[in-house]
Symmetry: C2
Subunit: 346 residues, 2 copies
């Protein structure tokens, strides 16, 4: 990222679309994947943004991901349903499932949708935000392949298993939490490795299961809470597995073909996700909800910060980045820029 | 706790009932509060177990908690409802709400219930377990008064705001996660203070907002994730506030009369909770769910532990404690034992 170039969002979006179309993706697949990647790149979640385009093109070419899926939606009860992704892009399945959850919640007060035969969905927050944009509390989660250790365990077991929540805020962008249940992502370890820097404490472990600050010795991530309280982060990762792989009968974290590396890219991974939409109208009502959110955010933002710090509500950082990038452009790393035809080939 | 006495569960339960009845609680209030407190004391969550009986008796005498409430249930849509606790014991309202969520989920696939005009509910896990015992995934949460700091903040803002999840496991006690969104509870700080011991790193902060290991300097708890990643724990605390105070239009964390201390015990606190029940039958089906849970737990428990450690699934520790205490008795601290008439008055 040292020589990332800044690209205008409109131009970047067009390049992403072209690359996905070129890889054979159907119109609706192109739309959904581009929307999800641009969300992540706009708000600064670069690990889950446009840098994934080459990967998605590769797995569509390989057969792991079906570029032209026939996604089907099934209602299973008054407030629940499932979406079968037909092994297509996780983004298409996930936006479909999020919209379905909202539809169910309009009628039932809450809607819960499980996705099966899906694939990597990018940033889970994209779908929580889509639900919040419909005026509801949104929750989105997925499991992924094993890279995070258990508390007191000597090998990776859970994925980075994100929990994403969003809620509408009157006159503002949504309240947004999109967190991995590890302290840092694996990419961060690789970055420290390439920079030959020492890792922060309690974020990664070696093969003995003990925390290490040597990025070369790091074999797995530690769950949120680190060496002292990582049992909480590990259990939260398990919540993601419970709501996705176990509830949907899809692949469990430890059963996944790894996402990246020298691995099979021809076999679909049958990834499961879970989406929840809750309509405030069926609880205190939209007006009281908006008032509570306002009092909450005003009080939170008025807490005096530590010297040199800033007290932020979940999402404040992301929406700040979005504003800055709208003005300055979105940073794209050299490899991805080259792949997208945004820079001269090296 | 140094001179705690071990009391047989049946005898302890009878003493708790007698004390609550003596404080004027209605039969259903006695039943619900006793059930919740005994759950916590059986599984080792002593901070939320029978030691709270004197507190509950005090707030019922003071008027904060209505000992004989008329709890009412209202369906607001196909899969949602609210429970008005009439300012009674939080346990009664919460068990009622959890049962209502299950009832809604039987029909709608998922059921979400918000509780209003409630009070302290003890351990949130008690209600998640009640839902799991009905064969569903359960989620229970509440907000509480401010004792936990924000990331980079200089004063307490959120409560310890628990997130509790439980899920049925064929042939075993439920998968159970009942976690505060701080690393440790405030009681633990007080314990370190009385023992004049140094606190673990990153669990508490002083008035400047910086982490401290001096229990006497500790003014607030730090959110899960500590100094480096506490923004995640703080946001998870916010999730609890979002689903309870904001969604239900009840008291926000920073607006609460503190639970304990030299405070008003005559004014009801209008505490809100939230409960979710999800029926696996409407997703992959109960058989596939049970199979996934089995594969998940078997794989998790077969991960080799670090030297001297033990790899546990969420709940394993709690149910082990339950088994041990069923044989050996439940430890009751001297003050509570005296209050319950289980030891000679000092």
């Amino acid at each position: 990222m040292t020589s990332a170039i800044l690209v205008d969002a409109t131009q970047l979006e067009a390049s992403v679309r072209a690359a996905l179309r070129n890889a054979g993706a159907s119109d609706e697949s192109v739309d959904a994947t581009t929307r999800a990647l641009m969300h992540a790149s706009r708000v600064g979640v670069d690990s889950h943004g446009v840098r994934l385009v080459p990967h998605y093109c590769k797995v569509m070419a390989g057969g792991r991901v079906n570029p032209r899926p026939n996604v089907t939606v099934k209602r299973t009860a008054a407030a629940t349903g499932t979406v079968d992704g037909d092994n297509g892009p996780g983004h298409l399945t996930s936006y479909r499932a999020a919209a379905f959850a909202v539809e169910l919640a309009r009628e039932g007060g809450i809607g819960a949708v499980g996705a099966v035969r899906s694939s990597h969905l990018g940033a889970a927050g994209a779908y929580a935000v889509a639900i919040a944009d419909a005026g509801m509390i949104g929750f989105a989660t997925t499991n992924t392949d094993s890279v995070v250790g258990l508390f007191d365990g000597t090998k990776a077991f859970h994925g980075t298993n994100p929990l994403a929540f969003a809620a509408p805020v009157a006159g503002e962008k949504p309240w947004l939490l999109d967190m991995a249940t590890s302290s840092i992502p694996m990419n961060r370890v690789l970055l420290y490795r390439s920079l030959a820097q020492t890792l922060p404490e309690g974020v990664a472990a070696d093969t003995s299961g003990h925390a290490t600050r040597d990025p070369h010795a790091a074999e797995m991530l530690l769950p949120l809470g680190g060496e002292g309280y990582g049992f909480k982060g590990a259990a939260l990762a398990g919540v993601a597995t419970l709501f996705t792989g176990i509830l949907n009968g899809t692949t469990l974290d430890h059963e996944f073909i790894p996402m990246v590396g020298d691995v099979d890219v021809s076999t679909p991974r049958n990834m499961g996700h879970f989406f929840l939409a809750i309509d405030p109208e069926r609880f205190a009502g939209a007006a009281l909800f908006a008032d509570g959110m306002r009092r909450y955010l005003d009080a939170l933002r008025s807490v005096p910060p530590v010297e040199g710090g800033r007290v932020m509500a979940p999402g404040d950082r992301e929406w700040d980045v979005e504003t800055r990038r709208a003005a300055e452009g979105i940073p794209v790393d050299p490899d991805t820029a080259r792949f997208l035809g945004l820079s001269d080939p090296a």
